[in-house]
């Protein structure tokens, strides 16, 4: 397997360890992307947006299971709130229909408001929980709400071995 050419790296930086990354900027500039883990959608409740809470084996050594499950469950709750069919959504729908949907030029829909909350939550989670562990969550809206993409970063010294091990581990699943 020929690995992709790596970007120029600063070898004078400290070797990677869990505590050395304090912000996302450092993570992006000082580490290289080793692998991407995709959390797929859970369709057992129909077409409602919900992600599987099954813990992927690639993240076994990187993050605690409970933290990961908390993040996914909170995201699922946000999406459920956005797609909830109730009094408020009916009111919004009827008002919009009466104004020939021109009202959405002035105000944003409830769904859009919840999506903003979600992106704020993901950024907060990235800063507090995931970046210190060398991980980065991509907002599902940027992937068509199909997957939660978790980028796994490694430091330069161990990145060659980790990419090899990640391919063997995924084929062995």
């Amino acid at each position: 397997m020929i690995s992709a050419p790596r970007t120029a790296t600063d070898r004078t930086k400290l070797p990677y360890c869990h505590e050395s990354f304090h912000n996302l900027q450092e993570l992006r500039h000082s580490a290289s992307l080793a692998n991407k883990v995709f959390i797929q959608r859970d369709y057992t409740d129909g077409t409602v947006c919900k992600f599987q809470t099954k813990f992927p084996s690639e993240l076994d050594s990187r993050i605690e299971r409970t933290l990961f499950e908390d993040t996914v469950k909170t995201l699922n709750n946000y999406y459920a709130e956005a797609e909830k069919i109730g009094g408020q959504s009916y009111l919004e729908g009827c008002l919009a229909c009466l104004t020939v949907y021109l009202i959405f030029l002035c105000i944003e829909t409830r769904y859009e408001k919840v999506l903003k909350k979600i992106s704020w939550y993901i950024q907060e989670q990235n800063e507090k929980v995931y970046a210190p562990r060398g991980l980065l969550i991509t907002d599902p809206i940027e992937r068509g709400m199909r997957v939660i993409e978790i980028s796994v970063y490694e430091d330069h010294g161990s990145s060659g071995s980790s990419s090899g091990s990640s391919t063997t581990s995924s084929s062995g699943r």
């Binding site: 995709f38 057992t44 409740d45 909830k84 069919i85 020939v100």
Partner: protein, 360 residues
């Protein structure tokens, strides 16, 4: 030995040649005066067969001829009604008639434009990493392939509300389609909650614009019946005064309006009735045509998406939350992210290719 040494001497030269070729190609691609790359918006590199207007704000299918016909028919018929019939009706009956007609007309045009111009719920194609991840999962699930072994079709089964639903893999978009999504061959996109591709509206009808489409055909039915009824009233009132033939001579436009409305009413009112049935049972046209939830398929076959209640189904379809567009048409293309490959080969050709690649 000499052969090896020959190769040993050749290789560094070959490497230099490759490097030279690379730099040579890249320099010819960049013209000297445009060193800075022009940043494109995502709609400009969209892989589907869609047309975009107003810098990505408007999204339509490739064939829009019939849509313009729809607009012309509605504008001409309504225009003739307001110009020729309404003055008589307003002065002889009530000015409420043109007022109601005006409101209906504005509503019809608003819904038509909204249904035609908005994103129906297109699913963006998989990024290369996603596609590779799914391929890996499929290969692992299929297991080793020996000679003469045909891998099973790419499907996943999901249990939704007690009903087994098969999710199909889309070879063009390289994703497993969510339930109720379908790939439109005309637009070359996977669309969420795909209903049908409507040439009259010039767009697919899917999750995000179904309510606009339904309100369009419903209000158009009302408008057509309204115009038909009042044009007939106008002609009758006139012929009471001046006789039938001279009434027709005084307002020739009425004849055209009656003809257009008469032929439209059957199809549009029928379509409205059909879609009212679909909404009340929470089905898509696609599902109804295929008979996905028909009891003829089996005793335990039922629609897992229906809320069970007619009112709830209608309210959910028309007044439910409006999801945002997933394709971010007006966003800027990030220069470092690779774009998903645009593939337009049909699903018929692909499975055989996949089988061959699996065999080798």
């Amino acid at each position: 030995m000499t052969g090896n040494m020959h190769l040993g001497v050749e290789e560094p030269i070959r490497e230099c040649q490759y490097n030279q070729i690379c730099t040579h190609n890249s320099s010819t691609m960049d013209t000297p005066h445009t060193k800075k790359k022009k940043i494109k918006r995502k709609w400009q590199v969209f892989p589907g067969r869609n047309k975009f207007y107003c810098n990505g704000r408007i999204m339509m299918a490739k064939q829009t001829g019939v849509f313009y016909l729809t607009v012309v028919l509605i504008l001409v018929t309504s225009g003739l009604f307001f110009a020729f019939d309404c003055p008589f009706l307003a002065s002889n009956l009530t000015p409420a008639i043109p007022a109601i007609g005006g409101v209906l007309f504005i509503f019809v045009m608003g819904m038509l434009l909204r249904a035609s111009f908005s994103d129906p719920g297109v699913l963006p194609r998989a990024t290369p990493e996603e596609a590779a991840d799914i391929e890996r999962q499929i290969d692992t699930a299929n297991g080793p392939s020996g000679p003469g072994y045909r891998p099973p079709p790419r499907t996943r089964e999901v249990l939704i509300n007690g009903q087994t639903v098969k999710l199909k893999y889309c070879f063009t978009c390289k994703i497993f389609r969510p339930p109720r999504a379908s790939h439109c061959s005309l637009c070359d996109n996977c669309v969420e909650r795909f209903d049908h591709h409507c040439p009259w509206v010039g767009n697919c009808v899917g999750r995000r614009n179904y309510r606009f489409f339904y309100l369009f055909i419903l209000s158009l039915s009302l408008l057509t019946i309204f115009i038909f009824a009042f044009v007939i009233t106008h002609v009758i009132l006139r012929s009471n005064r001046t006789g039938f033939l001279s009434a027709l001579k005084d307002s020739p436009a009425s004849v055209l309006e009656v003809v257009v409305c008469f032929f439209s009413i059957w199809s549009i009112v029928g379509l409205s009735g059909f879609h009212t049935y679909l909404i009340s049972s929470n089905q898509t046209t696609n599902e109804d045509i295929k008979g996905s939830w028909s009891s003829k398929r089996g005793k335990g076959n039922y629609n897992p998406y229906s809320y069970g209640n007619l009112i709830t189904n209608c309210c959910a379809a028309l007044c439910g939350p409006l999801p945002p567009s997933l394709i971010d048409r007006r966003g800027f293309v990030q220069p470092d992210t690779p774009q998903p490959v645009a593939q337009t080969n049909g699903t018929g050709a692909c499975p055989s290719n996949q089988v061959q690649s699996h065999m080798t």
